[in-house]
Point group: C2
Chain length 147, copies 2
Amino acid sequence: MNIGEAARASGVSAKMIRYYESVGLIPPAARTDSGYRAYTGSDVHMLRFIRRARDLGFAVAEIHDLLGLWRDRSRKSADVKRVAQQHIADLQRRIDELRQMADTLQTLVACCAGDDRPDCPILANLENTEGLDGHEQHCSRSSRPPH
Amino acid sequence: MNIGEAARASGVSAKMIRYYESVGLIPPAARTDSGYRAYTGSDVHMLRFIRRARDLGFAVAEIHDLLGLWRDRSRKSADVKRVAQQHIADLQRRIDELRQMADTLQTLVACCAGDDRPDCPILANLENTEGLDGHEQHCSRSSRPPH
DNA sequence: GCTAGACCTTGCCATGATGGGAAGGTCAAA
DNA sequence: TTTGACCTTCCCATCATGGCAAGGTCTAGC
């Protein structure tokens, strides 16, 4: 199987397959006499594993670990669970960060008239270091550039 | 004011101040005779604005627009509001992506014994293209590598 | 057998925001 | 004058991904 076929069969682009090989996530592919990479069904299976793990947000380094556990018949499921739980914690941290941003912005947007006038609590908040960093409820006042 | 002072006063690193200048987010700083960048209080004010906008997750291109509106005394608050709302939508999309990942993983983790045995629904899910893409509730079965 | 077109190879560049570091110039205090 | 803290520019690395270019290979149709 050529790299293009393997790509279509696994959902991983040819470019990324070469990349994963170059960074050691997957072993170097077998080669034909002319130098083309040759893949087996088992290779595609592995690529699909990688693809799925990427879809779940695992970084390449984490997938490296997961592949090791996958191949290790004597693995402990506790080890897999730990990797997954750490990743969940990481996802949760990122979610919280984004949600904090969204919440703050949402509060500001709710206070913004959104009409033809220039006064805008959103700009006012960006301008002042203070305000809405915490959990204020009141709409702030105007906003004019300095000068 | 030297770049280091401006950095300390604004919370933007000297490195990033130079970067923002290089990509045109801020105008080229004034220079002393010896070539040092020189900043005013007004410059620091702008840098703080940028810093705050970055903290809210705005990309440099968006901050460019926001700075334009900030400087425009005849802006319409509706324009600012639109930028903010688009950003909120973007944040929400990213949050949903991450939460989808976290939810799937959470379900799998809940199904994993996490003991000394190798059988693991997490690996099983990564291995099979099917399963838990949607909203299944049942814990799946084992997981052994191919070969 | 030849040719066209689809495929493969490697290598370089770009993304976005950020930090690290090197080599060399400037400044201020002791 | 020296020292140390600062500044300058330039290059490199991150992370996963795509794009492009130059050149080699394979296959189907004529």
